[in-house]
Structure formats: structure tokens, C-alpha cells
Symmetry: C2
Subunit: 343 residues, 2 copies
């Protein structure tokens, strides 16, 4: 059943039927009812491909998933996608997902998506400070919305979480508990969120009059295994930290394991604070103190921002920063009374 058949069946033109179904105003109330009813009865639904071609719109939003190194990717992305998908669904837009490893393949994937007009706009997650995806999309004149800012800041639409402030707060909380040697297991430097996390951390230390120790800031992939490695390295320092902030929960969980495996007690000997509030966070030993951002909601909002962009709204008017909040659980506590640390 296609439009022609349906319109013939109704004794109307395709124009009218199309308009009646499309909700256009210039069609008589009763005619519309007849059309809608007939469409329902005959099981007509417009062919997506034809509609896309005629309207010149892809009717889809794209997203490129990063291929994770190990097995099992970061659940963060799934949560984000669900938020996005939920919102797009109600707008009758498709969410097109592609998987590609960072680098060449990734750029190629984006290029194909926009070049072949497979999507109307893109959502870019986990921005990098100098993000080749963003510059490429901008050069290609493609509409996009990002989760995360970049540096230097471009005038694109973005939603970001104020990780800077969140980390500053977490760090200040640790300072308030007497910690002086606080480490940061950060994400890879190319990610912009790493820069923000570090800045928040550094600011809080500076505000407390604590000299920054470069040895206490290490980078690692955002996985359990790498978090554990980084924590192990910190533990082996001549003057090890009494508290550790990590860029996400998987890393924190890895750190927890590394510390406990080395015989340290958490939080008595060392405090750990993560970021994400994954479902496992309350279930670790001890339950993980972490920072929580509303990922699903962010996904929905990103989808909305895409819609706004496609409706012509200016990118500058679509820039938001959301707060993250500290979820205190059992993995952080007062600084241990140190035997050493003279001066």
C-alpha cells in the first residue's frame, strides 16, 4: 500500500492525502479524518526512503561509538544512547550508530555519515581538547552537537558537565578531611574532560595552599585495569598519596583493588573517589564515593539540542553546563595520622 494506491482508493489526490497525514492545515477537517481512518484501516505507512528523498532530510541523527580496547565498552555510552534514542523516538527520527576505532577510521566514519547525507546531524561524545572530529564536521558544514567542550572553544552547540567544579569540590572535601597528598588518576590528556578534571583538582589544592606535586597526577586509560596500574604506581611512590581521585568509576574500582591487594585499607589508609556513579559503585568494598552526572538526561537534552539546531537555532544559544554532585559513600574518609611527613 503506497500513497498512490491510498489516494486512488479515497478518490483524492496524493497531495491531499499526503497533507492530511502530514498534519498540514490546508485540508478539511472531515477529509483528514477520512484519510487518517483509511490509512489506518489499510495499514498504510509512508515509505521512509521516498520521504527522505523528497524532503531532502535524512530523518536521522548519527553517533559514532569508539571501539574499546578490551572487552566490554564503557556503559556510559549506552546510557547516553538510551537518553538520545528516547527523545528522538518521539520525534520520529532514527538514531544511526556506527562503531569505529579512534583515529582515521573514526574520521572516515563521520565523513561517510555526512557525505552521503545519511544523517541530518551528529552527536559527538567525549570531546577532545583539540578534536579533529569537530573541526572536520565544521569544515564539512555538518550540523552537530557535542557532549563536552573543547579547547580552543568553537562556537558549536554543546552540553557539558562541570567536572571542573565537581573535582574541585571533591578535592576540597578531601582537604577538609585532613588530606594533603591527594593524587589524580586522570583520563588521557587529549580528552577535554581530563583537562577540566585536572584544573578543578589543581584549583582546590591551590585554594588550600597545598603545593602541587606533578608526581601525584598520572594518566591512564579509562578502564579498571589501567586504573589499577596507575594506583599501584602511586602507592609505590616514596611519599604516596592518602587520597586518590579518578576520572571515572572503572578506574576507581581498579584503584580500589590495587590498594587492597597491596594490603592497604580503604578508606583508613587511602581514600578513593570515582566519577560516574555506575550501578556497581554502591556495591564495591567499601562502597565507592563518586561524582554523579545525569547521563540519560544529558542524552535527551543533547537530542533536543540537535532538534533545535535543525530548526535553525543558533549554536551559541545552545551551550549548557550541568553540575555533577558528590555521592558520598564509604571509600573516602579522614586522612590517616601519618608517621612520616615531617615539616
Amino acid at each position: 500500500m503506497n500513497l498512490r494506491e491510498l489516494s486512488r482508493h479515497l478518490g483524492l489526490s496524493q497531495t491531499t492525502v499526503s497533507r492530511a497525514l502530514g498534519g498540514y492545515p490546508e485540508v478539511n477537517h472531515r477529509t483528514r479524518e477520512r484519510v487518517v481512518e483509511a490509512a489506518r484501516a489499510l495499514g498504510y505507512s509512508p515509505n521512509r526512503s521516498a520521504r527522505r528523498l523528497a524532503s531532502g532530510k535524512a530523518g536521522a541523527i548519527g553517533m559514532v561509538l569508539p571501539l574499546p580496547a578490551g572487552h566490554f565498552a564503557d556503559p556510559f555510552f549506552l546510557e547516553l544512547m538510551i537518553g538520545i534514542g528516547e527523545r528522538l523516538e518521539s520525534e520520529d527520527l532514527d538514531l544511526v550508530v556506527t562503531a569505529a576505532a579512534a583515529g582515521e577510521a573514526e574520521i572516515a566514519a563521520y565523513r561517510r555519515l555526512v557525505g552521503e547525507r545519511r544523517v541530518d546531524a551528529l552527536i559527538v561524545a567525549r570531546t577532545r581538547s583539540a578534536d579533529p572530529r569537530l573541526t572536520m564536521l565544521r569544515e564539512a558544514g555538518a550540523a552537530f552537537v557535542a557532549l563536552g567542550r573543547s579547547d580552543p572553544p568553537l562556537d558549536y552547540a554543546y552540553l557539558d558537565v562541570d567536572a571542573e567544579n565537581a573535582f574541585a569540590e571533591a578535592c576540597a572535601a578531601l582537604v577538609g578531611l585532613g588530606h594533603r597528598r591527594i593524587a589524580l588518576i586522570n583520563a588521557p590528556a587529549e580528552l577535554h574532560l581530563a583537562r577540566l578534571r585536572r584544573r578543578g583538582y589543581a584549583d582546590a589544592l591551590a585554594a588550600a595552599g597545598i603545593a602541587a606535586d606533578p608526581a601525584l597526577v598520572v594518566e591512564a586509560d579509562m578502564t579498571e585495569a589501567d586504573g589499577a596500574r596507575a594506583a599501584e604506581a602511586l602507592r609505590r611512590l616514596a611519599d604516596p598519596p592518602t587520597a586518590v581521585l579518578t576520572a571515572n568509576d572503572p578506574m576507581a574500582i581498579g584503584a580500589l583493588r590495587a590498594f587492597k591487594g597491596a594490603g592497604l585499607r580503604v578508606p583508613d589508609d587511602v581514600s578513593v573517589i570515582g566519577y560516574d556513579d555506575l550501578p556497581v559503585a554502591p556495591l564495591t568494598e567499601p562502597p565507592l564515593t563518586t561524582l554523579r552526572q545525569p547521563v540519560r538526561e544529558a542524552g535527551s537534552r543533547l537530542a533536543e539540542m540537535v532538534l533545535a539546531r535543525l530548526a535553525g537555532e543558533a549554536a551559541e544559544a545552545l551551550q549548557e553546563i550541568w553540575p555533577a554532585r558528590l555521592v558520598p559513600r564509604g571509600s573516602h574518609g579522614p586522612a590517616p595520622a601519618r608517621a612520616a611527613a615531617p615539616g
Copy 2:
């Protein structure tokens, strides 16, 4: 730059250009080179929508994500999607993802996907014993491939993991360690995998001559929280289990917490075995013994099966069952010497 412009530029017909780019044989070697070169130089790439309409193919595969109850969905789906996406990418097919809550909305989502011809085929994950999605898709004459079987078995293409055998093995291993009261925290009964898990469990008990105790089989949502609740209920039994199998890792992690929170030692007092081998599994306390299935690979294979179906292969020829293997870690061990439990 579209096909007409490109062909005019080359002084060739659209037919020839289209064929040259499409890799058809009936075009002169040198002509093809000219065309390919010009397309590259002028940045031509065919319009997806037009191609779809002309070819009558959507060039996309669909998938409907279940909306999780709590925050953060099961990472299993992301891993699956990545496997699927990776394979489709190389075939130049889109993966269209929609999120919908189980029930009406879900069926509506599937219906829209096939009705509007948005996708050529669908991948259905986590089949249920009587699965309304499967019957609907079959009635609609839509091509689909499922991860998981159903009951009664339809002649659709599927890939399933032999959870039955895996659970039987895990259960037998526990019996071998002296356990007699082995519990199963199962997935909701409507999921077919729950049926398989239970069957494997029951078979192993029967083989060992152990009478099945209905009180030892409980159902729960596949989340940490519900796993914990179920474990707590089992622990309170007059004659509690000495070992627990769970339908997935999140539940196992919940069970771990519940047992430890009640002062039980794992595995000394009670053994726990999960299913999935999530990245956190090696990092729990103690490290979780679990069953592992290759999810990413399953995704890729599912994508391949879709391709085969679209190429005309019979569904009956596309039915596979993959093994899962036990990953022994520290959460299971010999049965405790029991004080009670009289003859």
C-alpha cells in the same frame, strides 16, 4: 555534487558513472579509473536517500534497546551493538537504534521500523519464551535474526549461547566441591534464557541425585539490587544454600554484597557464580567466578547472519549455538562443613 553533475562533467551517462562507481563489470577499465578519480577529486558521494529509494533497500539494520528500569542499562547491549556495528560498517549498512520500554511501546517501535521500511532487517536480543516481537515480525514478513531461542521454537535465524550446558557444568562443579544445597537466582521467567539456565541447573542436580528444592530457585530482575534482595531471601531460609548461581554478573555482585553484608564469607560460607564476565568480575571481593560468552563476537556473527538472510539464505540454515565457558576465580570453593543438615 550529484550524479548528474558528475556524469556531465565527465561527458558520460549517469548509467556508466553509477556502474563505474558501483563496481559493475560492464565498464571499461580506463573509463572506471577516470570516473573514480573524478569522483574523488570532486568529492562526490552518492546520496543515500536516493540510493535507498531507487534500490528499494533501506540499507540499514534495526535494533530496539530495552529501556532499563534503573539508571544505567546492561552493558551487555552496548557490547553486542559494537559487535554488530563493526560488521555492518564494513558492509556499508547503517545500524538504527531505538529505545523503547518492553511491552506496547516496544512492539510499536518494531512495527514502525518495518512498516515504514526504515530497515531491511532487525536484530532481536534477549528473546523471551513466548516472544511477541518474534511473532509480530514474522507476521509482518520482516527479516530478522535473534540472539536467543524461544519456545515453541520458530524457524527463524538465531544465535544462542548454550547457557543450559554452561549452567549444568557450573552446577556440576559445585556438586563436585561437595555442595548439596545449590540455589539459582534466575532471570525473569519470560526470558528464554531463564528457562535454559534453570534446565541446566536442574539437570546437573538430577544427574548428581540431588532432589530439587523449589525454594532454592528464585527469580529477580537482572540488576545488582534485585540480585542482592534475592540472595538475602535465600540466606534467610531455614536451610540456606551453600552455593548460588546467578543469571548474570550484576546479580552475582548484588548477591556478593548481600552475603558479605550479613557476615557470611565468600566462598568459605557460600559460593557464588555469575554469568557474563563483565570487566568488574575480576575486581570484586573475592574475584567473581563466572561464565563467559563472547558477546562482541556474537554481535558480529548476528550481523553476518542478517547479511546471509538478506542474501536469501534460509533461516533454518542459520541457527547456531555457541558454548560459554566457566571462568573460575575466587568466589566459589568447597562446601562448608555443615553443623546442621540432619539426614
